[in-house]
Every structure is written in structure tokens, then in C-alpha cells.
Amino acid sequence: MLIGNRGKYLGIIFGVVFAALLIAQQSSIFCGLMSLTVSQIRDVEGPAIWVMDENVQFVDDIKPLKDTELFRVKGVPGVDWAVRFYKGIARARLEEGSYEQMILLGLDDATLIGAPQDVVLGSIAALRTPDAVIIDEAGYGRIWPNEPFRLGRVFEMNDRRAVIVGITKASRTFQSFPILYTRYSQAVRFAPPERKVLSFVLANPEPGLDPQRVCQRITTQTGLQALTRSQFIWQTIWYYLRKTGIPINFGITVLLGFIVGTAIAGQTFYLFTVENIRQFDALKAMGTGNGTILLMVLSQALNVGLIGYGVGVGLAAGFGWWSQTTTRLSFFMPWQVLGLTAIAVFVIVLVASVLSVRKVLVLDPAIVFRG
């Protein structure tokens, strides 16, 4: 019946498309932002356990530890290996005399655990040379825009010379500062002087041991906070969800999409039902039960819901692809976003159809005979 009225049919689909697009797009941008907050945890491959001060709430909330904490962690039964990891913000003075804030990551001198995996120019091994740093390619482009990659560039941090020996790919961060990788011993010299400088201890459990259980042992034995990689990622995300207005801002837009979509679809569905009330009534008079009528309306709702969902999510994905290639907008569409959008669309068409069909369900079939 609905398909027979092209205007209304397209109207409802438009409402659902609008809602699906807005919900999927805004949720994906939100997920993109959240993924930026944990990109540095994800980029550090190898260690399954992150050990830190007990009051650390998220990855950028650095509360330095004493260097000796490394040995206490190493001493916990079940810990296969543990290394130092420095993370901080350094101010670099460039050759031209300008200053630039940079994220400084100090890797264990011996093992270089946590080093970037995808080096574009130069090599990780070059980090062992004096004053060596590796910079991420986005950061390089930000400091020296439109200039070709060149190794050997020199700048200063904390009055100490740093030489670029490599350029690597790295995930974008929330602060979007350039990322510098260097050895731990070098990093503490680049950083402003502090009594305690160790940011994290990265560790791995012995083969066959559950990382979570080893984390519990580390916490019990050292009093430090020990989290698995996944726990630390979620702890960071939850911090941003709780302590910032980001989820509220995006939530409002998603809610708006939901409400507007429901309103458009609901109103059009209602008009469609009212316009076809005589047909529905004739069906009821002919012996169609309320269950069958409900099924008819719901199947049509499902039809427009599926089309609207497909088009809306497709447009959102297209927007994501476009934004990835032409803008710096963060966009990440995990399957959960698709699931959330599907649920929202389902609720929209369900609410719209049930609200409109209510009129039909209470309809007296005798009305069909009354002119």
C-alpha cells in the first residue's frame, strides 16, 4: 500500500535516511575522536601490560614514577620482562628560531620496545646514534609544510641537539602534536628536569599466564596501577566520556537525528494511514485481523527502514571516506556504530508505524458502510 504512494514512500525513506546518516556520521566522528585519545596506546605494540602510578586516569595523565619501580615490577612473579617508557610534552626550538610543542616518547635503550612499526624513511636502528629522534610524517608535514622528507634536520629541545634519523607513520593523537621517538636515556635529557621521570613501565607476562592476573599481582605487590592494554584503552576512553563534554555534544546531535527522523517518518506514516483508512477499514470488514494489519504495516515499515538504513549508512560511510582523504576530521565507523544505527532506525520505524497503525487497530469495520 505504502509503495503505491510514491510521495509518502519517499518521504518516509527520506526521514529514515536523514536519521541514519546523522546518527551514523556523528557516532563515527565521536568514535574517531575517542580512537585519537588512545592512539598512542594502540601504537605501542609488544607489551601486554602497562604499569603506572595508582592515580593515573588516562594515557596523557602522566604521574612520574621513581626509576626503581622498574625493578620492583620485574621482581613480580609471572612478569616475563619489563622496560621503561617515557611519555611527555617537550618544546622544540627549530632551526628557524620558532618553537613547537611535541609529544616525546622515550623507548627502552636496550630493546627499543614500543618503537614505531612503519618507518617511511631511515631506520629504527638509527635511534641508537647520539641525539637521534624519529618523527611522525604528519608531524613533519606540520612543522615543515610542503617540504620533502629529509633526514638530518636538527632542532633543539631543552638546549640539547636532536637530529631526525627517521620518519615514520603514526596514528594521529588527540592533541595532534608531532610525535618524536627517541631512546629513554635521551628522552629524559630532552625533557624538562624533574626528580622523577619514568612515565610507564611496559611489561609482558610469562608465556601462558593471563595478563589480567599478572596485573593483579603487580598491583598487590608494588601498589602501582597495572592494566592490560585493553583495560588502559577503555580507562582512557571512559575518562574522556566522564570528564569532557564530548559525549554530550555528540549525543545531542545523535538524539536530534533520532527525533527529527522519528518526526518525519512518524508524521508521513500517520498521513499515509489516515489517507488509506478506508482501505484498511475495507480489509477489516473483509475479515482481516488486527494482527495481520499490524504485520502488513510493520513489514512496510521494515521495508522503508532497511532502504533508509542502507542509504543513510552508505552516505555516512561515503562522508567518512571523503573526510579521510581530504580533511583532518577523525572518522571511525566500527560495527558497533552500524549496530547502534540499525537499532535506532528500527525503533524509529517501529514507533512511527505503531503510532499510526493504532488508529487502524481501533477502527470499527462498520465505518466502511458509512459513506
Binding site: L283, A285, M286, A366, V368, F369, R370
Partner: protein, 240 residues
Amino acid sequence: MPSPDPPAPTAAITLRGVTKEFGSGESRTRALRGVDLEVPYGELLMLIGPSGCGKTTLVSIVAGTLEPTAGTVHSLGHDLTAMANGRKVRFRRENVGFIFQATNLLPALSAVENTAVPLLIAGWRRQQALEVAAAMLAQLGLEDRLTSLPNELSGGQQQRVTIARALVHEPRLLVCDEPTSALDAENGRITMELIRAIAVQPDRAVVVVTHDPRAYPFADRIATMEDGRIESVKVPTDQS
């Protein structure tokens, strides 16, 4: 002691003391005032009378779409007044064919799909329902318009699709509400001829509500209503 089986009904429809009131208190309206009526099998009964006399109310009660306030209604051997709503829906689905004043065809469905609706409601398989519906339309001379949408059909053709839809599931009671009012003289005559030829069978009954005097000659009897009562029941004559 179990009650004996009810005797086989001699009349398709029997109404005894049927009244119908709408509203309550001061706004109460009495649409029917103690109607007694019998419609035997094989008969086409026409209900005529001025607007507001209770024809539509009476035909709604006969079809099982409206509850009387008082009185008894037996239709095709079933006591409709004692029937629960769910069973009444099933009764209509299985036993009653409807021809409405407005055709009420579903605009998105083709002629053959519209005709198949009662069969689909009854749970027939789609293909089988469409085949039977196509045969019914062919009987009504619409074999070349099977796939036409309602808005592609003339008024007369639409009414023929409505007749096909009303009869496709071989109902034992056909209820028609002003079947010729929207048609010109020629199409009105054809419609009544088709109803007379196809619907009037020894095991069926037809009740037609009409204002159209051109339809009167097609009736076996004509019941004239006035102010909620049946004033007279007559066999039509050439002058009627």
C-alpha cells in the same frame, strides 16, 4: 444432557427484534427499532429507503461488522449476537463478500492482486490465489486488465474488480452497499446483471442497499425501510 444439533436453517439470514442505538443519554439515537427480517437462500434482497432510515446500520449488522443493541441475528446458521469478536472476524473472512459504495481497491495492487486479497487473507498461497483471482476476473470480462492498477481502470471496470474480489472466495453471503451509485446507467446495469448472474445461487444470499431505482428490477424482494423499521417487503414489479 447435551443439546441437540441446531436444525438446518431454512433462511440464510434471520433477524428478530433487532434494535441499534448509538450514543447515550440525550444524544442517544435509535437507528433500528425492532427489525424482523428473513432472507432465504437463493434470494437477492434489496434494502431501500430514505437517507438515515437505518439501511446501512442494518446491512452492517447482517454482515457482522456491527453489534446490535438488542435482538438476535442468525446468519448462515450462526448466531452472530452470541459470537465473540475474533470468531466474527473469521466468519466474515470465510462467509461474507463485500461490495462497497467506494470501491476501496488497494491503489498499489493490480486488479488480479486486489481480487486475490480475500484468498490471501484466508491464508492461500500467493500463486494459487492469483490463479483463482485471474479466473474470476476473466469470468467478469477483465482478462486483459489483470495487471492494471485501479487508477488505470474505468469506474465500471473498477466495480467489476470489486465484484470479483467479493466473490472470489465463494462467500455464502454477499453484502452490497450502493453498488451502482457511482456508475453510469450502462455500467450500473452491467454490475447488477453480474451480481445477479454470479452471486445469486441456491446456497447463497445477497443483500443490496441501494437508492438507485434502476437496480430494483434485479431484486427478488425489496424491503422498504423508514425511521429504523421495515415498512414493507414486496416483490418488484415493472413499475417499481
